[in-house]
């Protein structure tokens, strides 16, 4: 039996040095529905190639927000969410 993969559409945003590295700020991603946490999304994106691997391999700190709220890596992603990745903040 062939299992059917469901997808959920999310919006992903990148900021600061991460935005510069991937060369764009916003994309829509159709995510296989078994990718449901921030950690899983990081791993998923890291497989896109060297640039992405370097960002999401855990060697640099990458913070995440879901729908404008800072979250940790165990946070759950739902369809329609806006997920953002960025370096530690340096305002003020």
């Amino acid at each position: 039996m062939i299992s059917k993969i469901n997808y959920m559409n999310i919006k992903v945003l990148y900021f600061a040095r991460i935005k510069e590295a991937v060369n764009y700020s916003t994309e829509e991603v159709d995510l296989p529905s078994d990718i449901s946490t921030v950690t899983a999304l990081k791993n998923y994106l890291s497989q896109r190639g060297e640039t992405w691997g370097n960002i999401f391999n855990g060697k640099q700190i990458v913070r995440a927000a879901i729908n404008h709220q800072l979250v940790d890596d165990m946070a759950v992603i739902h369809a329609g969410d806006e997920v953002a990745f960025f370096p530690p903040v340096t305002g003020g």
Binding site: F15, A16, L70, A84, P87, T90, G91, G92
Partner: protein, 154 residues
């Protein structure tokens, strides 16, 4: 409580006049205003800074700053607070950020103002990029800012 994210400069004395003379301040017996203004450094890590660019996350920034104000209001008996943070391109010694807090007595306003700044430094989505004679570089987050935030842990 107010939050403004803007490219334009701000006038500290005008902002303090508005807070001092508001109906709310009068009603709640204002006796103190504490304000902090953060500036663009002209030197950082041994290099002269020619220019600073501030990027932020529109939407989340405002929400994060409002959440910090709400937390301050829940911890201290303050009347009002204001955060203005500039974004875009700034020059050395330009004003970057204003935090102002009003209260009946100074202690509450001092503590709340410092608390808001410490949380802003580590929780609000702003990123600084410096331009020096060696080129551009992103400013690294400082451990000392995390330490400053941690002392407010309940």
């Amino acid at each position: 409580m107010g939050v403004r994210v803007q490219t334009e400069d701000f006038d500290l004395s005008q902002e303090l006049i508005s807070m001092r003379l508001s109906g709310q301040a009068k009603k709640e017996g204002i006796g103190a205003i504490v304000s902090f203004v953060g500036l663009v450094r002209d030197m950082n890590d041994g290099d002269a800074i020619n220019m600073l660019t501030l990027e932020h996350y529109p939407g989340m920034t405002e929400k994060a700053l409002q959440d910090i104000e709400l937390e301050a209001k829940s911890r201290w008996d303050i009347i009002d607070s204001l955060i203005i943070h500039r974004v875009g391109t700034l020059q050395p010694l330009d004003q970057i950020v204003l935090v102002a807090v009003t209260s009946a007595h100074r202690g509450e306003a001092f503590s709340a103002c410092e608390f808001i700044m410490d949380f802003l430094k580590t929780s609000a989505p702003f990123w600084k990029k410096e331009s020096t004679n060696h080129g551009e570089r992103w400013v690294e987050a400082k451990l000392s800012d995390d330490v400053a935030k941690a002392r407010w842990q309940k």
